[in-house]
Amino acid sequence: MRTNEFDVIIIGGGIIGTATGYYLSKRRKRVLLLEKKYLGSGSTGRCIGGIRAQFSTETTIKVAMKSVDLFRSMENEFGFSVDWHPSGYLFLAYSEEKKQSFLDIIQLQNNLGLDVRFLTAQDIKSKFNYINTDGVLGGTFCPTDGQADPFYVLKGYMKGINNAGNVIKTHSEVVGIDNHVSDLFEVTTKSGEKFYAPQVLNSAGPNSKSVGEFAGINLPVEPERHESLITEGIEFREIPMIVDYRPDGCYFIQRKTGQIIGCYTPEKRVPGNDVGSTFEFLTEMPRRLIRLIPSLESLAILRQWAGSYTVTPDGNPIVDKTEIPGYYVSTAMCGHGFMLGPALGKLMADYMIDDEWPYDMSEFAYNRNFQKAAEALG
């Protein structure tokens, strides 16, 4: 094998690309990972590190439960802590309709073995006495949901890939993919280097559409901006990820470092690659946050930033092979890349080698009907 020839070339060094590269490396594949900037410079390094299995559809719940297992064992696997902590996720219902949809989803979640409980407003008040429950009709809580530090997780995968003797090339933007060079893909970077492999994985997140187009693959995906902020640290009280689904709601969690980190989904979506910050978010997010926990009023904000959710019309990722033999995609995580990444990395690595899924993955299929109902807990 030539030095520029690999078993798999992965394009995109976020959680998806590194996790897949890690599991391919464990199965002794020769892997090259190409990243335009540096590992985590796209969406992964901008995410707030929440991890949950509380979803509303079977495949996503199964994948997410597998991911939680993997996060839990990372400290052992990597030999250092990734700041995993099961703080739980608390979803709040402010309308009868939302409450009913939570109750319906709990059935499915429990059937799949996920410990999700319905809490009344009274239960919430006694369990989390700092939460202002005005208007809350109840909520769901999953104690095995949690958080980890995205940078530490990336570091673990990076070391695993390197230790297997595989190659990560950062600052190496892919500018072309030619699938007509014998049985191999020819992947060209901006600096003119060429690499060859029979399999290619597009895990380029916000850039996955253009990476698809290089090979004639059309992905119905689009990045949109989501803003975040983080505060100074306070004593760790295990404040769970509190998810307020009201149109002017928000979600935030206390990191293991004591800091509060949070976001909201803008009512009017902001499509495009812009990851600039707005003053509107800087004033609106604190209002929404201290409406839920008034005692945080005097806590100081350290910084705000933004990142991209890469979304599909139905709110589910695309994790599959394509019409071009050997060209795989694992992208458009719709804001859930970090939490689903470890499991999807393992699933995709096995799929690229064994050509079969351990369970039905049609929810994430490349050629599915994208106009179906969206994920209810998106």
């Binding site: 590992l39 990076m158 950062t170 604190p286 201290i290 350290l302 910084r303």
Partner: protein, 92 residues
């Protein structure tokens, strides 16, 4: 500088921690920041940012212009949530 000299006091990181990140292949301030969380504490890199840039320059031989790639994030100064909450906003 000694190995145990503190470079980023907010995140308790030493000169050796920065060297280790560089040895792992990090060649810009952003990369070092994301590998070891340097500059992510209350001072927001005001103290350690330039030190780290200089260490990278010394170790890699790259010009500072290629190393200094961080974005300064608002707010300029740590500000309590209660003061910002519901503040007037022209682009609302």
């Amino acid at each position: 500088m000694k190995e145990d000299t503190i470079i980023c006091r907010c995140e308790d990181l030493t000169y050796k921690d920065v060297l280790d990140a560089i040895n792992m292949g990090m060649t810009t301030v952003s990369e070092v920041k994301k590998m070891i969380r340097a500059g992510m504490g209350p001072c927001q890199g005001r103290t350690c940012g330039r030190l780290i840039a200089q260490i990278i320059a010394k170790e890699t031989g790259k010009p500072l212009s290629e190393i200094w790639d961080t974005t300064h994030r608002p707010p300029l100064k740590t500000t309590p949530l209660g003061i910002l909450a519901g503040g007037d906003c022209e682009n609302k």
